[in-house]
């Protein structure tokens, strides 16, 4: 039979998140800015310049082996913190059952960060969403387009300076008004002629 039942095995070589953070600091001493801990979860705040190298190290190192990227997103700290944006990577190792969070700082004047698609294939859509919602560009992404919003949408909705109900006065986006106009024209089609 193709399908078997398995009781989940006990973790083999779990490393405490704080220790993983120390290892990253050893390996990339220049990059790590700060290590934050909250409710047993550890975040490593890093500079964005060597993010691909850090991710590759966490993915390929046999003892850490973070093969599962749980989530990638960004946070806008406008007026709260400098630099303004942080790209957040939530990593998990299915084999060793430990987790670590990487937060890469992205300043407002240069919102470009290297893409991690070569490490995790599934990050593709996450990065597209992040670009769509925050306007962070991922260098080296194979197909960086808007994903949830219409392609000709202006602005990035999840930024803190984007109003909750949209900008006043602009009820429809351009493409939609074009479609409405065109449908009105077609409605007046003269069938007799």
């Amino acid at each position: 039979m193709a399908v078997v039942l398995s009781r989940a095995a006990t973790p083999s070589q779990r490393i405490e998140p704080a220790q993983i953070a120390e290892r990253i600091k050893e390996k990339f001493p220049e990059e790590v800015v700060e290590i934050v801990s909250f409710r047993d979860q550890v975040s490593v705040i890093v500079r964005k310049s060597r993010i691909l190298g850090i991710c590759r190290y966490l993915h390929d190192d046999p003892e850490i082996s973070c093969d599962h990227l749980q989530d990638l997103t960004a946070v806008d700290y406008k007026g709260k913190k400098e630099p303004r944006f942080e790209v957040v990577y939530n990593l998990y190792s299915i084999r060793h059952r430990h987790a670590i969070r990487i937060r890469a700082q992205v300043p407002e004047n240069d919102t470009s960060i290297s893409s991690t698609v070569p490490v995790w294939a599934g990050v593709d859509w996450h990065e597209r969403e992040c670009f769509d919602m925050f306007g962070i560009t991922f260098a080296g992404h194979p197909d960086l387009r808007r994903i949830l919003m219409p392609e000709d949408w202006e602005g990035h909705p999840l930024r803190k300076d984007y109003p909750l109900k949209g900008y006043e006065g602009e009820q429809d986006w351009k493409e939609f008004t074009d479609v409405v106009k065109r449908s009105r024209e077609l409605k007046d089609f003269d069938w007799q002629g």
């Binding site: 193709a2 399908v3 078997v4 039942l5 398995s6 009781r7 989940a8 095995a9 934050v36 909250f38 409710r39 979860q41 975040s43 093969d67 599962h68 990227l69 749980q70 989530d71 997103t73 946070v75 806008d76 709260k80 957040v88 939530n90 299915i94 059952r97 969070r101 995790w120 294939a121 599934g122 990050v123 593709d124 859509w125 996450h126 969403e129 919602m133 808007r146 994903i147 949830l148 919003m149 219409p150 909705p157 999840l158 909750l164």
Partner: protein, 486 residues
């Protein structure tokens, strides 16, 4: 003769599938590049159902954002609620009573069964097995009726609450559920006899959409979609929440990583859910269903009974002497029952009034009076009563009412920090990432939706197969577009 000798030029055909297509399970649009019957390229387009739930979540307090989670995965709303409250509870740092944990495990597994039933029904229907559809809906109906019994809603339940569940479950609910577990076990076998050895079913599912375990992890797949490829990753085992560490169950995993193995995984998962349900009913401990943390959870509404109890039939009247005519209640009234000019006493139209108390809470000058038994009285009598001071009982209840309104609107004081909490919903890993800035509203609420990631894997699964296999592949990844677009 000359024409047949001519070499024809062939080119790829571009077909747009969806967004209105019965087999795409929602508003998913796929642009297929075809070479004959073979698929060369697939480009999915999503976002038709985007409602900005993450942005909305930032503008609402933690209590107010809970009903939004029902609207993500509307097929298994209960699991989404549980995912949200588990994450928020960890952020608040509150402990949930045992009974509430067990009840949540029960409703979570019921939701898993109902989700898998709907998945099996539509997946089989897409491939051409009509009979399964009708049988599955019969059983799903039973579960939805049980949901209705405990919270009054069938789909958008909002039954779990931060710190526990809304109310305790009645005994007849447990009896009916026990009967369901008995009958349903025999029915799974029935469904399997319908399709398990069916030649058409096997031809349409075996060897289709193969993905290896390592690759599936790399693509971010989770849940039964990943386990079909032989990777044992189940959050209920890896990071147990609620009562999952107190019950015994197995995690079914496949070996081939094709559509058929993922189907088998889900069928076996339903059996495991039945096992969990039985254990939970047997072990269900007595006790409260809401945590005692008054700073973080909504407390029982007993103190407001003098106002809210239907026997009292209260009426809301503006005291003309105290009213300054500021217009606050006028703007707040959802029924538009309040009329009046600026700086003149307002008046409530009793025929339109919903007795919702919004005006009472919004009034800064205490000009609104609650009159018990005032419903249906004449205007003169109401005005007469409004001039008198309110009874102490009503006054006290009114203070509670205002406090409750403020608490829900502002939210509790939350420790600063960020955390990511994942739960196992029927479709995979549902994760919530919160950034808290110390206020009652999340600074950032991020939802990691399994359907979103699975929809992104579609091109990888479909390329190289035939057009008809796209349908099998959409079915097998089990997506709901409401969750995908959020």
């Amino acid at each position: 003769m000359e024409q047949s000798e001519k070499i024809f030029e062939t080119r790829e055909l571009n077909v747009s599938m969806g967004p209105q297509h019965p087999a795409t399970h929602g508003v998913l649009r796929l642009v297929l590049d075809l070479d004959g019957e073979t698929i060369v390229k697939v480009t999915p387009y999503v976002g038709y159902l985007h409602r900005g739930i993450e942005k909305l979540g930032e503008s609402l307090s933690y209590f107010q954002a809970l009903p939004l989670t029902d609207r993500m995965d509307y097929v298994s709303a209960m699991s989404n609620n549980i995912g949200y409250v588990v994450a928020v509870e960890k952020l608040f740092g509150i402990e949930v009573p045992e009974r509430a944990k067990y009840i949540r495990t029960i409703v979570g597994e019921m939701s898993r069964v109902s989700n898998h039933l709907l998945w099996l029904a539509t997946h089989a229907l897409d491939i051409g097995a009509m009979t399964v559809f009708l049988y599955c809906f019969r059983d799903r109906e039973w579960i939805l009726d049980l949901f209705e019994m405990i919270c009054g809603a069938r789909l958008t339940v909002t039954y779990p609450r931060i710190g526990g569940v809304r109310n305790d479950v009645p005994q007849e609910f447990l009896d009916s559920l026990w009967k369901f577990t008995d009958e349903f076990e025999a029915r799974i076998v029935e469904y399997e006899t319908l399709i398990d050895q069916n030649r058409i079913w096997l031809l349409r599912t075996k060897g289709i959409g193969i993905i290896s375990g390592e690759e599936a992890v790399n693509w971010g797949m989770t849940g039964p979609t990943l386990r079909g490829s032989g990777v044992s990753y189940d959050i209920r085992k890896h990071m147990p929440y609620d009562a999952y560490d107190k019950v015994e169950f197995d995690v079914p995993i496949g070996s081939e990583g094709d559509v058929y193995d993922r189907y088998r995984c889900r069928m076996l998962e339903m059996r495991e859910s039945i096992k969990i349900l039985r254990q939970c009913i047997e072990q269900l401990p007595a006790g409260p269903v809401m945590a005692t943390a008054p700073k973080f959870t909504l407390q029982p509404k007993d103190a407001m009974m003098p106002i809210t109890h239907p026997v009292n039939e209260v009426a809301y009247v503006v005291d003309a002497k105290a009213c300054k005519g500021c217009g606050m209640c006028l703007r707040a009234c959802p029924a538009k029952a309040i009329a009046g000019e600026k700086k003149q006493a307002h008046k409530i139209d009793q025929a339109l009034c919903l007795q919702c108390a919004t005006c009472f809470v919004s009034c800064k000058f205490k000009a609104l009076k609650i009159i018990p038994g005032g419903k249906g009285l004449s205007e003169d009598k109401l005005n007469e009563a409004a001039a008198m001071p309110m009874p102490d009982e009503i006054k006290k209840a009114g203070e509670h009412l205002v406090a409750q309104f403020e608490f829900i609107k502002k939210g509790p004081k939350v420790p600063e920090g960020d955390l990511y909490v994942a739960t196992e919903v029927p479709k995979g890993e549902l994760g919530f990432y919160f950034v808290s800035d110390g206020s009652g509203k999340p600074y950032r609420m991020r939802v990691r939706a399994p359907s979103f990631i699975h929809a992104g894997v579609l091109p990888r699964l479909c390329v190289g197969h035939l057009v008809a296999d796209v349908i099998s592949n959409i079915g097998t990844i089990d997506i709901v577009l409401g969750e995908c677009d959020r």
